[in-house]
Amino acid sequence: MTKYLLSVHSVEGEAREPMTEEDMRQFMERVGVLEEEMKSAGAWLFGGALHQADTATVVRMTDGEVLTTDGPFAESKEHLGGFYIIEAEDLDAALAWASKTTAAVSKPIEVRPFQHVSEA
């Protein structure tokens, strides 16, 4: 078994109609069904949606000091919307979960394997 990160990517400024309340409700329902499926299959480890990119803060070392900046790390238009951490037998299994995820959230999903993960 290997742990994989499934990250949800959005591109800022992509022409998109804002979601109606009904759209939102259906979206949450699809996501709920997906997460329930992951949990009962034993694939779910952790996950969720993130707040928007402008709520982020970046902390980095500069000249031996810690510098704090407002805003996301990536200055590009692409931002992380959320992620799931799952455990799967192999890449095919992880890709199957990713396919379900992209169908549910209508955004591209990147699938990346973890190297060694230390246990709690």
């Binding site: 037998e89 192999d90 394997p113």
Partner: protein
Amino acid sequence: MAVLIRAFGDIDVAEDAVQDAFAVALHKWPRDGLPPNPGGWITTTARNRAIDRLRRESRRRELLSEASLLSPGHDDPGIPEEVGPVQDDRLRLIFTCCHPALSTEAQVALTLRLLGGLTTKEVARSFLVAEPAMAQRLARAKRKIKAARIPHRVPDGHELPDRLRPVLAVVYLVYNAGLTSPSEPSLCLEAIRLARLLATLMPDEPEVAGLLALLLLTESRRASRLRPDGSLVLLGGQDRTRWDRSLIDEGQAIVRRCLRRNQPGAYQLQAAINAVHADAATIEQTDWSQIVALYDQLLEVAPTQVVALNRAIAIGEVEGAAAALSLVDELDLDNYHPFHATRADLLRRLGRNSEAAAAYERAADMAPTDAERDFLRRGGRASR
């Protein structure tokens, strides 16, 4: 080697182990005589050496426990028998090499390296890539297979059609690379060998048979495709006595079996078109109406511009150049040199010579081989 890759899930370990085993074999067999099952002996020896290496490295606990599981006597049903299904492991390996998570370039490189047994240098040369770049491409692909855990298994029934597509595409690509790279005609033979292997391993897949038939029938014309000076000979001008009849017979037999099965697909249809050509003693005796009918079917399963172009050429033989040209002019294939070559030929037949000349020039500029370029520069005429 396929057996070991499956057992170890690590291509590098398997490769090194096989090298070692062969080295030992070269040393021992002349002295002790050939063991009854040389392939199996290699597998056992390689496996033992791989176990040694894994123990020496002792990188991760999981690997060590796998190694202990592999000592003889352990009754894990997943461990391959030496005399057993090596064929199944080759099949697994093909699907691993052609996994959709890998780029097409990586798929082709891995297939040639691991199934074709070509050296990295040979693979690099076939695709006009520098050897270090090819080595890196292969290393990256192997790393991805390992890190992302691309599984070594034959896809389940319901996944098979989607997963088979890239496998067949890779073999087809390899064959075509052999056609357009006159320095590597062995790629054609390699592709045929792979197609035969696939046909043996998957006798119930009609498109696998179709691909093999297509390659055999195309290969049958090899001797007549080029003149001694390297210039190209079109189908119409080829000396059909130089076509390889045994390849044709084999290809046509497969096509007939496919027709009886009646589960048509793109490769089978292309093979059938080639079979119709092979039936004709001269170009004039070609049953073009049959070919048009086959292209009609092909266009339905593979509605691409290139297929439409080839269909238009066949229509030209049945309904004349004007009909063909109006079909061709509807297509959007500006970057495809056969498109311009076809237009040029049709324009020439219609007596529109200056337009024809311009089209030949366009085609020549894009031609991938010297033979084709020269042919087109001569206005599609044979050299004196």
